[in-house]
């Protein structure tokens, strides 16, 4: 191109904003690009990626990549051989919570009452049906021997007779079923001061041989009668009873309150307010 050639000067100049851009519209109503550059509506790579991200296909792609690039068999084997330390979690929280024929379960709850008071309440076994759903009746016919009638699935009941094997006031009550008991079981309830003045930590551990083994345990779980479910619920009820003096219910007819509400009423009637 020679310097004499100045024909480029006479070409029409590009304008800004480009033609077709409506300057007077508010910003949000303007077209982002002139018509020629706008998306023609076809399936672009950008759209495919956006759709895939939206639909979570990224997760699938990630899974595929993991299968291809993930730890090799030798790596996994090495992991399996590495010695494990024994951690600080209670044994009953192990993924395999079964020891010999025994299923072990347990649960903790913090109750804002002094431990001596909670111990005394628990040690009077006749109080147990007041917060334990499946205990129909409990008592201590002779010192150190307790008998419980436990509601079992499908309308049956089991009698458990156990010996108090460790009784430390304010700290622990432990029991073991005697020979001829309906269920072979042992357990303990421990009381200790909660940190920061939060009351008492009540911890229960129950080991039992599920009738009919694992099948029986599964059936019991279905009916919410399995000890791990029961321990959780029962301890919450104990907390309600000792902290608030009653056990919460959504029933709004006095006749329809369950055995827990009736027990509170009976207790109130037998010991009129001072």
């Amino acid at each position: 191109m020679s310097h004499d050639d100045d024909s480029w000067l006479h070409q029409p100049r590009p304008t800004w904003p480009p033609e077709g851009h409506h300057q007077n519209l508010p910003y949000r109503d303007r077209e982002p690009y002139p018509a020629a550059r706008r998306d023609s509506g076809g399936l672009t790579e950008k759209k495919v990626v956006a759709a895939a991200m939206t639909l979570g296909l990224g997760a699938l792609a990630g899974l595929a990549a993991y299968a291809y690039l993930g730890p090799s068999a030798s790596q996994s084997a090495r992991h399996a051989q590495e010695p494990r330390l024994t951690d600080d979690a209670p044994g009953r929280t192990a993924k395999q919570a079964r020891f010999g024929g025994f299923a072990v379960t347990g649960r903790s709850v913090t109750i804002d009452r002094p431990k001596d008071e909670i111990y005394a309440f628990w040690r009077d076994f006749s109080n147990l049906p007041r917060f334990m759903e499946n205990i129909v009746d409990a008592g201590e016919p002779e010192p150190g021997i307790s008998t419980w009638t436990i509601r079992a699935p499908m309308g049956t009941s089991v009698k458990v007779r156990s010996r108090v094997v460790n009784d430390r006031p304010g700290e622990q009550i432990a029991w073991r079923s005697t020979e001829g008991s309906g269920i072979e079981t042992e357990g303990k309830v421990m009381f200790r001061d909660a940190p920061g003045g939060r009351g008492t930590i009540v911890e229960t551990v129950i080991a039992y041989k599920p009738p009919m083994g694992m099948v029986g345990q599964a059936v019991a779980k279905l009916f919410s009668a399995e000890p791990s479910v029961q321990a959780r619920r029962d301890l919450k009820r104990l907390k309600m009873l000792l902290e608030t003096g009653e056990i919460a219910t959504n029933k709004n007819q006095s006749g329809k309150g369950g055995k827990f509400q009736k027990a509170v009423q009976t207790e109130l009637q037998s010991s009129p307010a001072v």
Partner: protein, 428 residues
Amino acid sequence: MRALTYHGKHDVRVDTHPDPQIVNPRDAIIEVTSTAICGSDLHLYDGVIPGVLKGDILGHEFMGRVVEVGSASTLKVGQRVTVPFTISCGACFHCRNQEFSHCDNSNPVEKQDVSESLYGHPMSGLFGYSHMTGGYPGGQAEYVRVPFSDVGPLVVPDHLEDEKVLFLTDILSTGWMAADQATVEPGDTIVVWGAGPVGLFAAQSARVMGAEQVIVIDHYPHRLELARSLGCKVIDYHQTVVLEALMEMTGGQGPDAVIDAVGMESHGFENFNPVDTLKQKVGIGADRIGALRQAILAVRKGGRVSVPGVYGGMADKFPTGALMEKGLTLRTGQTHVQRYHQELLRRIEEGEIDTTFLISHITSLEDAPQGYKNFAFRQNEFTKVVLKPAWAKGREEAGRANMAHWTGPSTPGSKPATAPSRDVLTDA
């Protein structure tokens, strides 16, 4: 007694139920004089909260007179009370820490399992809000059994009419806590998503707490008008690019705190919403978090995110990157009504806070099903519906926020006049 009863999605009816009785020693029975439909009732109405059963009595904003007390209640028959929607024992760890909506002891044990497996910890009991929170019969009824009546109900003076104090039970306290958790500091801009009852009360509370600028985002003109009448600036997200506008309205810094008063049924905003809606419809329990996503993107670095909006399930595309990289503080939760309602009652008595500006319709309890329908589907006109169990079917009065009082759209910078309150009307 008559009570508003859940029959299914978008199907609620007023049915006859047996009158409630004292069951536990700390109970009281309240004869309801006023109750209201809450925005969160619409989540039940829309069927997106699990565990609502046919036959459940709904309603958790109610007040009335004490007609019967249990042996351990501290209330007296004849007292006029507002009842917090959260049921709290007053004795557990959380109640003693003033976290009343986290009460350990108010949700019946067998009702705790669902929320315990869903959330890791059980929820506490709430009135009329699904069996996850206890399945307690609710307050859109002639009578309600109130557990732990020595802790929850607040005795209110007779000279304050129902409409002035009813919202202490939930939405006013909730709006106040939302602003409290957003932490209003001098010079702050607070932005509220959703000009529903909680959003408007949150905006009002932020003003009372001294925010420099409060901006409310919605798309219903009449609701935005109410926000403007409180002295807030408004953004209609149908007209405006919200993120850009918020940057420009805060000198390029972004708002100091944001409040999501929308919750799990967020509309519009962005492209993930159709997928979230689909998931919610087929019952995967997904929350629609469009408003929350936008709020988290909008808030300035080091800002605060306060979430009074109700969520129940899970969400994806949650902006964890923005949350972490911008150093945000996220505060959430059902309202600890008992922590705030006394102070708020004082502010109402002193005329600092007015709650009646919000009410658009007052109808009989018998007309509650129509009230639900209107509140759900005609949100521009129906800003708050109050129900009166004692009124005859068909009786209806206009509240101050009724469209009948509307004089047309206001202009930026103006402060629209609202209709005078009822006592002013009767004085004249």
